[in-house]
């Protein structure tokens, strides 16, 4: 390769630095140039969660992997001057389809996204998608659960996390279906706008399975409901 785009990356960084020096905020040192994630060095792609069900932990970086079947949004901010405003992000492959203003991952693998301005590519970025191989359930303290004991009347908040086959957390908004074997023993209710989160309410003594399913992955949680709480039993004992 004789020509590469590293000169453009350096040029774009220099432009950012110069812009920062001219913005009237002299001496503040507020502008901290960072490495642009566009592969041509002409700007930054920004990953956007479309709703609370996205398990993306660090919105300041592009995700390591997005779940197959998940929805997401991607924005682009150009670091180079454009003749007119308006850069839109487009899928460059059949791996990702467009649904209105959001994208949906259809296939696992590495895929390219393009920032396009008036029919011309401004920059591009590659992302990775992986199937959801596992889903785990954790409590509000972050402890992963496979079983749970509740007393009648007790309420527990749980949330599901989508993982790939190497137990890495996957980004992207997914649909989660929570079910209980017996709602008269343990009732499952949504907890706000995040479909990953639910509230379990223990109504009667017994043993039930609570399941959460996303895509092809299912996790089963055994819930034992006691007549009275373990603390109460200890006090009585």
């Amino acid at each position: 390769m004789i020509l590469d785009y590293s000169f453009m990356r350096r040029g774009a960084l220099a432009a950012l630095i110069l812009l920062g020096a001219c913005d009237g905020d002299e001496g503040s040192g507020a502008l901290v140039p960072h490495e642009l994630n566009g592969e041509l060095g002409r700007g930054d792609f920004e990953y956007l969660a479309i709703d609370d069900s996205d398990a993306m932990l660090d919105p300041s970086a592009l995700p390591a992997a997005i779940a197959v079947g998940a929805r997401f949004d991607l924005d682009f901010t150009a670091a180079v001057a454009l003749a007119a405003s308006g850069v839109s992000v487009h899928s460059g492959s059949a791996f990702v389809s467009t649904h209105g203003a959001t994208f949906e991952v259809d296939l696992p693998g590495r895929f390219v996204m393009l920032a396009i301005h008036q029919g011309h590519v401004v920059d591009l970025a590659h992302l990775t998608s992986r199937p959801v191989s596992d889903v785990v359930v954790e409590d509000t303290d972050g402890y992963v659960l496979t079983e749970l004991t509740l007393a009648v009347g007790e309420v527990a908040e749980l949330r599901a996390l989508p993982l790939d086959d190497e137990a890495r957390l996957l980004a992207g908004a997914l649909q989660y279906d929570w079910t209980t074997d017996d709602a008269s023993v343990v009732e499952v209710r949504g907890a706000g706008l995040d479909p990953r989160r639910v509230m379990l309410t223990a109504h009667a003594p017994g043993m039930v399975d609570v399941q959460v399913r996303t895509g092809e992955a299912t996790e089963r949680l055994s819930v034992l409901v006691l007549e009275e709480s373990a603390d109460t039993m200890e006090e009585e004992g």
């Binding site: 390769m1 785009y5 592969e39 460059g92 492959s93 590495r110 008036q118 011309h120 590519v121 590659h126």
Partner: protein, 126 residues
């Protein structure tokens, strides 16, 4: 004298087309870092499905010299379900080529809006 003038005119007419450099081949180079096994030369581009790369296209004349460096080059896909191509903003002769899905497609090469040839794009299973 009249016959001499006529001969000169005929000779000039014959030489004029020969002075225009004809496209002999394309020089195609990958100028982005696709981070995957990808390949490009004047006749074909090979890349895995889902991925994209940026190439610089230079037409080479049959006289071993470049055609007018300002000549307009366009690439157009014949098979958008297999491969797509976009010009790169502000970089004439640079194009982003993407592998939409596995298969074989072709890019028409237009020089000054005239079809000059084709580049095969082989998009491999990822």
């Amino acid at each position: 004298m009249k016959s001499l003038t006529r001969a000169l005119l005929i000779a000039t007419a014959c030489l004029a087309p020969a002075c225009k450099p004809e496209l002999a081949r394309l020089d195609l180079r990958v100028v982005s870092d696709p981070e995957v096994d990808a390949y490009a030369d004047g006749t074909e581009v090979v890349l895995p499905a889902g991925n994209g790369l940026v190439v610089e296209v230079r037409p080479i004349s049959d006289r071993a010299r470049d055609i007018d460096p300002d000549a307009r080059i366009d690439l157009l896909t014949n098979e958008p379900s297999v491969t797509r191509v976009f010009p790169v903003l502000g970089e004439p002769g640079h194009f982003a080529i993407t592998g939409v899905r596995a298969g074989v497609g072709e890019l028409d090469v237009l020089l000054e809006n005239e079809l000059e040839g084709q580049i095969e794009v082989r998009v491999l299973e990822p």
